[in-house]
Symmetry: C2
Subunit: 241 residues, 2 copies
């Protein structure tokens, strides 16, 4: 296959990267074609099926990855088993904590997920020679920090109903950017996961979903399929100004 005729503006783009959407929004957008070529030699794709943990809490991490598809949950567990999901990662987020040898949380595929895995050292080398890359990761880290702090407000100060509505808003905001007021999506998380994300129990999540449904703020089919006829009403139920 002749790469020259297929990708005139980036003649040396690696084959594996050519069809990758993550290249535009993700880490790879900061790299030159030559760097991508080099990186792709050391990277590999992996599929992780829903429910599989691929980084354990306290495990040492020797690789970073880019999410190509799917949703990953990051969680922390206490010694007695209490669990809190501390973040969700969507495509094309970058995962892995530069500078931390050990992961202080677990990463598990919430839905079937595809990732592109890079060895730790390759990324670190690239980061040293490409300030744009570090800038991009820095910027992403700050956004995650903002998200985490918003969620702290949710966890610390909102009622169960507001929490559930906040969660639904969050998921809706990752659907297609503009469908207007309306939003339709599949929940990437089970009730148990939602409970762990919101600091609630399964039963309370279930009850609040039912309540939102009865109030006409959402419609539910098959447990996972949700329709939000009016995002503003949902946001109001979530306590967002």
């Amino acid at each position: 296959m002749d790469t020259l005729t297929r990708a005139p503006r980036s003649p040396d783009l690696p084959t594996v990267c050519r069809s990758c959407e993550a290249r535009h929004g993700g880490v790879c957008s900061a790299l030159t074609a030559a760097q991508l070529m080099e990186l792709s030699k050391h990277s590999s794709r992996r599929t992780i099926y829903a429910g599989n943990e691929f980084i354990g809490q306290g495990e040492s991490v020797s690789s970073y990855s880019n999410i190509l598809k799917g949703v990953v949950k990051l969680s922390k567990v206490m010694a007695d088993g209490r669990q809190q999901i501390v973040g969700l990662q969507f495509a094309p987020d970058f995962m892995g904590r530069p500078f931390f040898e050990q992961s202080r949380m677990a990463a598990e595929a919430a839905t079937d997920t595809e990732i592109c895995v890079f060895p730790r050292r390759a990324i670190e080398r690239l980061m040293a020679e490409t300030p744009e890359l570090e800038h991009l990761l820095h910027s992403q880290a700050l956004e995650e920090l903002e998200d985490a702090r918003d969620w702290m407000l949710t966890l610390g100060r909102k009622t169960a109903q507001e929490k559930v509505a906040s969660f639904l808003s969050l998921i809706a905001s990752h659907g297609d950017p503009e469908a207007g007021d309306r939003s339709v999506f599949e929940l990437p998380l089970s009730r148990a996961d939602i409970a762990d994300f919101l600091g609630l129990t399964i039963e309370t999540v279930s009850r609040q979903m039912t309540k939102l449904r009865k109030e006409g703020i959402i419609q539910i089919e098959n447990n996972r399929h949700v329709t939000v006829p009016d995002l503003a009403r949902l946001a109001a139920a979530a306590g967002n100004d």
Copy 2:
């Protein structure tokens, strides 16, 4: 005053920086003497007394700052007034969110605080030309992210007693690094602030403090002065493995 004779190893170090402890642990440690000199021309020191807000939520931010002394609380407020403290910053932390025009939270001095203020553009210029600086800030952002996520576990899954013990552990960990098992400190926050940090009410915080005192895990004098005879016991009460 002759700077050459006073600071032989950094002959051009600005006078204002020479006595600053933040220079070692904070942002400034990534800068050369020449850069410090340049930056110091645009920077100024400020003292903020306890209880004063110096960045409002939703305000636009035109400066960054380094905390030289004191404790700053970062908080988010809902439209109806419910409040959550989402982070505490201690010297020599750097404050201000690169890349965000608007602050999405308020910053208020919890204790009397001294800061060194830099104009936004000066920092951004330095960051562009000094990868080490961006690296340092990136690294600090990741640590804050870890802290925020640890706190999410506290907010979402811990009991009131564990929350209060977690808070005391956090404060103790910012005392002098090794006093062994023991720790003695002044609380930088009022009961109301502690409540806002833990997602509790004042009354519950007070009751749990009393309980920890009756269990011998802490001693309290004058409401603010706390002695922890055995940090391991406190950590156990905080639910930390």
